[in-house]
Symmetry: D2
Subunit: 138 residues, 4 copies
């Protein structure tokens, strides 16, 4: 796959909204979208052969460097949503993801931009993305 | 208090990092800072006489419209952190907060910009901030 | 289906352990199994035609009355687990579930006994299980 | 302090219920009491000089072995609750806690019995409680 083709690939994860995700306002609590987005990024990486735990065993961790979110419409209990992830940019030490959540009609509920940095697990210092990952992404 | 003076006020909430806040990377999970920030905003509002539940009883809810976060340094288990909130802007239907987390040495760990919209609890449509709140903030 | 046959039915939900579920001890945080168990009970009910939100709209809520858990072996990041639910007893105002989590080898990680009470959403007082539910379960 | 006197000591932690703790039923989500109980046990241990992270650095971890909970009355958004912990039994490799939550009128909301095992951080195998802890508890 070329860099442009990985950039065009959209990974989508269907998720159900459970009572644990909601708050007394009757909607999904705003922090919980970050859990949904993380699950989608993790499954995206798993789909190309990468697992978080295996990375940690090799002293590699991925941490979020920065993010932006816009909450457009609330998701509610029992809703079936789709959580999407697309790689916007591949840096030497980081990945930038576009992410968004849609409802069953395809309407956007939340949009996000997430920059994930590759770090040494023990020191939390930035390090280059593993070469196998670069190879898979390139 | 004038608008400029509320804007100068920094509300600070001391919090302990518990095991529930951490993840297998040994650091605070990135979504949990949104919980910390929400607690600080809530205590800020409580400190000037506003409670979320009372608002909901009056068909008012506050929902996050958009946010930006930068993760500078990780917080870890047992750390005693300070979570700060400052009102940057008061709109007709929203408030904009600057928020940040510092460690025991005063170093910034996470910085945030959070826009909170006032909505009708039942319809989730925007509505003007309650006049008593405007009066307290003005 | 007779009461004994519903009692014999085991509902199983496959789940992946995400970083959000783990703690700094490298294992799934003990409270998060209650989320897993709740998801399995919810999907069990959905599989026979019941949704939580629809219940709430009809002033019905289901709340946990009491539970017992035994933690036998830890689940870890990236593990694929199965969360099981079986109805042990159908009371007039409650259901008792046996629940357990197994790993990919079928080994038990956590076992649980959970009593769920049916209540009025507004008053939180116990009420009889809805007759359609009794009919489906009987 | 003698064993009987530590057993008589009740540690109490005041906590506010935040929106993150609640669910669409308008009450504290049942799993979140396990977070409250863990915070109270952690602060109890800290009050006698023990920190979780320091333990982990010395290859010691504390994991919940089993628990029982009874949910008597719901806590709601903005409630100020007290979370209590009392040591019921000190074993060679474990501690048993009685725990309960009360509201502002002192009424019990949730009661719990929690057995916490001391394990090696790396192998998750049981080990004797550290001798300094035994000394403090005895």
């Amino acid at each position: 796959m070329t860099e442009s083709s990985i950039g065009e690939r959209v990974f989508s994860l269907p998720l159900r909204v459970y009572i644990e995700d909601t708050d007394a306002g009757g909607i999904v609590f705003y922090a919980n979208y970050l859990k949904y987005f993380e699950r989608a990024r993790t499954e995206f990486m798993r789909s190309i052969g990468f697992e978080l735990r295996r990375g940690m065993a090799g002293n590699i961790n991925y941490v979020v460097h920065s993010l932006e979110l816009k909450y457009l419409r609330p998701a509610r209990l029992d809703d079936l949503i789709q959580v999407h992830a697309q790689i916007e940019k591949i840096g030497r030490t980081y990945l930038v993801f576009q992410q968004w959540v849609t409802d069953e009609n395809g309407q956007s509920l939340v949009t996000a931009w997430v920059k994930v940095a590759c770090v040494n697990f023990d020191t939390a210092k930035p390090r280059a993305l593993p070469s196998e990952l670069m190879a898979k992404l390139a």
